[in-house]
């Protein structure tokens, strides 16, 4: 049922200049996703955060005719709002309303997106918010997200993805309102636009919206230079120094596989076996948390997944032309920090050498074939995936994954693992208060200690004899220490 609708939407999109995705339904709720295929990747040099601030100004400021307070007051009784998400190559505005209020809600949305107010006082407030999100939110209150974003910044340094989509402090402070207006004019264009509708909207609604948005500039689609991350010649580590209780890690390297590529389904299956997000069944979770009780969880990814600590399922409309393989190790008590990193690297090496065991392969296939339905259980998620499928040129996501997984053999998956994953030339990021001590231990050849609350089974202790001294190939000259204040400065 879902698949049939999405296919229809996909076909309908093919002959329109402004692309539309429609998922009509009987629900009393209407979901909107208004997408521009542009984002932080086109932030000019020194203006990191311009795309983010422009979107924030549309959703968090007034319109030509209404002040921000008037917008909030009008939205409030309908329990509606307009949200935005800015990534490197996609900016999405999302909203949902009860169908009773669709006309009134859409009128506000149209004014917010097509007739922005560009008021100086809104701009000042939103700029402050964006700076504080970096200083207080990312640097100050979320060691795990901090580690992840530093990892991405390191892997993509010097490439079009080299700057954080949410900006940098001094760049944000220097951005002017005129620069926002210019960005809007240049990139909020018809050719970058995808209109998404789901739920119980009237049949004529998409055409009406399309007509309104025809007022946007007609320009060629934003072109992005090929994103080619620099290859590391050795494993490298960055330690972000800040006063915090425990040590958080993220590590990874670029992979030449994205959604729609031949090896994507195989790597997706690998991810479901090795480190499915926030699930206890993954290999990493089992070996680090379940058996050893070292931390709260350990996961692996083949696609960018921001805000993972707040979400159980991946956000949609985060599309990228380049992805990295990533391992996320949740905070570890200091005495176990070096051991835990070595254990994760040991497991990664084992995965590459031995592949997915036969007994786990069929079960993981079954899991993924069913779980993909859970990913699209809401209309909003279904709409998000349908838009992503349009972008990547794949069949609707559920069908794409189910069909591909059905055909996969263990040999194919293990070959894809060998081809795309590696345990050398890895970028490691740690967040820690004792950076010098951690550096010394990370590069040491001595066995890393681990102490358990209770003795684990003999097989685990035996394994520890290998894990403790496991070499991650990190040399002292490849470790840098940076103070937290210097992150996205």
């Amino acid at each position: 049922m879902k698949i049939a609708i999405a296919i229809f939407a996909f076909a309908a999109a093919a002959f329109a200049q402004v692309r539309t995705v429609t998922l009509p339904g009987k629900s009393a709720v209407v979901n909107l996703r208004i997408v521009f295929t542009t984002g932080a990747v086109v932030d000019p040099p020194g203006k990191s955060g311009l795309a983010k601030l422009t979107a924030a100004m549309l959703t968090g400021g007034g319109t030509k005719d209404l002040t921000y307070k008037q917008v909030v007051d009008a939205m409030y009784p309908m329990a509606t709002s307009l949200g935005s998400q800015v990534d490197q190559e996609m900016t999405v505005f999302t909203g949902a309303t009860h169908v009773d209020n669709l006309d009134a809600y859409y009128k506000l949305v149209r004014a917010m997106l097509l007739e922005p107010g560009w008021r100086e006082e809104d701009f000042r407030r939103l700029k402050d918010q964006a700076v504080n999100a970096l200083r207080t939110g990312l640097r100050g209150a979320n060691d795990e997200e901090l580690g992840k974003e530093v990892l991405y910044a390191k892997v993509y340094a010097g490439s079009p993805y080299g700057f954080y989509s949410q900006g940098a402090v001094s760049a944000l402070e220097g951005i002017t309102l005129d620069e926002l207006k210019a960005f809007y004019k240049q990139h909020y264009t018809q050719s970058n636009l995808i209109l998404g509708f789901a739920g119980g909207y009237p049949a004529a609604f998409p055409a009406q919206v399309k007509k309104d948005f025809a007022g946007l500039t007609e320009k060629d689609e934003t072109k992005v230079a090929a994103v080619k991350p620099k290859a590391l010649d050795h494993t490298k580590a960055t330690i972000v120094e800040k006063n915090t209780r425990s040590v958080a890690y993220s590590l990874g390297f670029p992979i030449d596989v994205k959604r729609g590529d031949a090896d994507y389904p195989a790597l997706l299956l690998m991810q479901s076996y090795f480190g499915p997000h926030r699930m206890s069944t993954g290999r990493l979770f089992q070996r680090i948390r379940e058996i050893r009780g070292i931390n709260y969880g350990d996961y692996a990814y083949i696609e960018y997944f921001p805000r993972g600590m707040n979400m159980f399922q991946p956000p949609t409309n985060i599309v990228r032309s380049s992805q990295i393989f990533q391992i996320w190790i949740r905070p570890v008590e200091e005495p176990a920090a070096v051991y835990t990193l070595r254990l994760a690297m040991y497991e990664l090496s084992k995965l590459i050498q031995e592949g997915i065991p036969a007994e786990d392969f069929d079960r993981t296939k079954e899991f993924l074939t069913k779980y993909v339905n859970v990913l699209t259980s809401t209309k909003d998620a279904e709409l998000g995936y349908a838009i992503d499928s349009l972008y990547y040129g794949t069949p609707p996501y559920v069908k794409y994954v189910k069909d591909a997984i059905a055909k996969l053999t263990r040999e194919q998956v293990n070959a894809a693992i060998k081809k795309h994953l590696r345990a050398d030339r890895v970028q490691i990021v740690a967040v820690s208060r004792n950076a010098d001590a951690l550096k010394k231990q990370l590069v040491s050849a001595d066995a890393a200690p681990i102490q358990y609350n209770s003795p684990p089974p003999a097989a685990v202790l035996d394994e520890d004899k290998k894990v403790g001294p496991w070499s991650i190939g990190l040399r002292a000259q490849d470790v840098e220490i940076i103070p937290v204040d210097s992150v996205f400065p």
Binding site: V29, M78, H98, R135, T136, S246, R292, Y296, N310, S377
Partner: protein, 454 residues
């Protein structure tokens, strides 16, 4: 799995998103799905809610035991620890097998703990309902773990505390409860006091006692939503849960004495952050029969939501704070009405505090504007269906109410109360509860040199 902090957040979101909803006619049902509620002879309750979600089913098992039930000194955090232990298996389904069954069902499975409840939830394809219900029945009745496994899991709980600890809001929440309560178990967060968490590995025997007390049918409600046939669900539940033995334990939850005067506390945060200010008042428990709790929910919206005059002044016009909000959580016992602000500069803390006091005074003296109250009622009416997107969110919403009153009936009742609120009700609640003798203020500031510029 076992992401309690996330669970707490979900509950908080639920409080914001699904608190009383008004319908013009009080007799109107606001909960849009028909449901069946049945009790087994052993005291277990089953709530079944067929929805139009194709293929998927959600099972939410609600145990009315949260950190509120941790009545023994030195053993805070045990309700949450149990959320973890429940994944440690039985003789029939050791953890590995349990995981494999979930995997084969393509399930999204997790659990959360809050002040008043622990919830185990799973969403999966409908054909797997029999095996999931049977496996869940087995672990609720036959959980078995060794002292070694218990100690290992205690390490994961400390890991959870660690991952929360980099956020100053977590520390502020701890300090607020510790300062505001002397005896009641809401004195600690769901995570528990840190020394108790660190001592958990030594408390194996106590853990068995905790399980024996609370993991009983009379504390438990199973909510099943989605693509289901209620009769078939009942038969499956009878089959695997019918033999579960009723318990005898009734906790003696300490009653908090009246507060004698205003309290205040401060947290020095060791690294840069924006200063935080929390002004809290001892406030009533959730009620679907008495208007006071609903009136305070409405007051939180009227006085401190983004449409309020105070928010517009401090956040939008003067821009001295980058956020302000208030919440009146739904709790089984009397809890805290909390106003929180993140202030941009330490120097403005006392100004923001004075503005909050002035706002409270205004609502104590004047009646709220009728059109503003109408807007708030309208918002609640529309917010509720927006939060019921799929079988999982329907079950999640119902589970929160089940934690309070053990029945979805309370949804329509409390919405009707909210709809009948008058400006006089709100003023009366402000006069009674938002007073100095019930107040606790907690502040948090960064080191002097780093302090919130901007």
């Amino acid at each position: 799995m076992l992401d309690s902090a996330m669970g707490a957040l979900r509950l908080l979101l639920w409080i914001c998103a699904a608190s009383p909803l008004f319908t013009a006619a009080a007799q109107n049902k606001v909960f849009p799905y028909p449901y069946a509620q049945e009790d087994l002879p052993n005291g277990l309750r089953l709530v079944t809610i067929p929805t139009d979600a194709p293929n998927l089913v959600s099972v939410y098992i609600v145990v009315q035991t949260g950190s509120r039930n941790e009545v023994d000194r030195g053993n805070t955090g045990f309700a949450h620890l149990f959320e973890h232990m429940m994944f440690r298996g039985t003789a029939k389904y050791p953890p590995e097998k349990y995981g494999q069954v979930l995997q084969q069902a393509g399930a999204a499975s997790n659990a959360y703990t809050s002040d008043d409840l622990t919830v185990y939830h799973t969403t999966f394809s409908k054909e797997d309902l029999p095996v999931i219900l049977a496996m869940e029945a087995d672990r609720f009745q036959s959980l078995k773990y060794s002292p070694e496994v218990f100690k290992t899991e205690a390490g994961a709980v400390l890991g959870e505390y660690n991952k929360n600890s980099s956020n100053p809001q977590s520390k502020l929440a701890e300090e607020l409860r510790k300062t505001a309560f002397d005896r009641h178990t809401y004195q600690h967060t769901t995570m528990g006091f840190l020394p108790d968490i660190q001592d958990m590995p030594n408390q194996y025997e106590y853990s068995l006692k905790f399980f024996d007390r609370y993991y009983r049918p009379e504390y438990t409600t199973i909510v099943v939503t989605g693509d289901i046939d209620a009769k078939k669900v009942r038969a499956l539940v009878d089959q695997s849960w019918g033999g579960w033995k009723r318990g005898t334990y009734h906790p003696d939850i300490p009653v908090e004495p009246d507060q004698a005067g205003a309290r205040e506390s401060h947290v020095d945060w060791p690294s840069p952050t924006l200063p935080l200010l929390t002004v809290a008042f001892r406030a009533p428990a959730y009620s679907d029969t008495d208007k006071e709790w609903s009136a305070l929910v409405a007051l939180a919206r009227l006085a401190f939501s983004p449409t309020s005059a105070l928010y517009q002044k401090l956040v939008v016009t003067e821009q001295k704070a980058d956020g302000i909000n208030a919440s009146m959580p739904a709790r089984v016992d009397p809890t805290l009405f909390t106003i929180s602000a993140r202030v941009k500069r330490v120097e403005d803390m006392s100004y923001v505090r004075a503005q909050i006091f002035a706002t409270i005074e205004q609502f104590q003296q004047q009646l709220a504007a009728a059109d503003q109250l109408k807007a708030i009622k309208s918002r609640e009416r529309y917010q509720f269906p927006l939060g019921l997107e799929d079988s999982d969110s329907v079950a999640d919403t119902v589970a929160g109410f089940v934690g309070l009153r053990r029945t979805p009936d309370t949804i329509d009742k409390s919405f009707a109360l909210f709809g009948a609120l008058t400006p006089e009700d709100i003023r009366a609640a402000a006069r009674k509860y938002l007073v100095e003798s019930r107040r606790t203020i907690v502040t948090l500031t960064p080191p002097a040199t780093s302090g919130g510029k901007r």
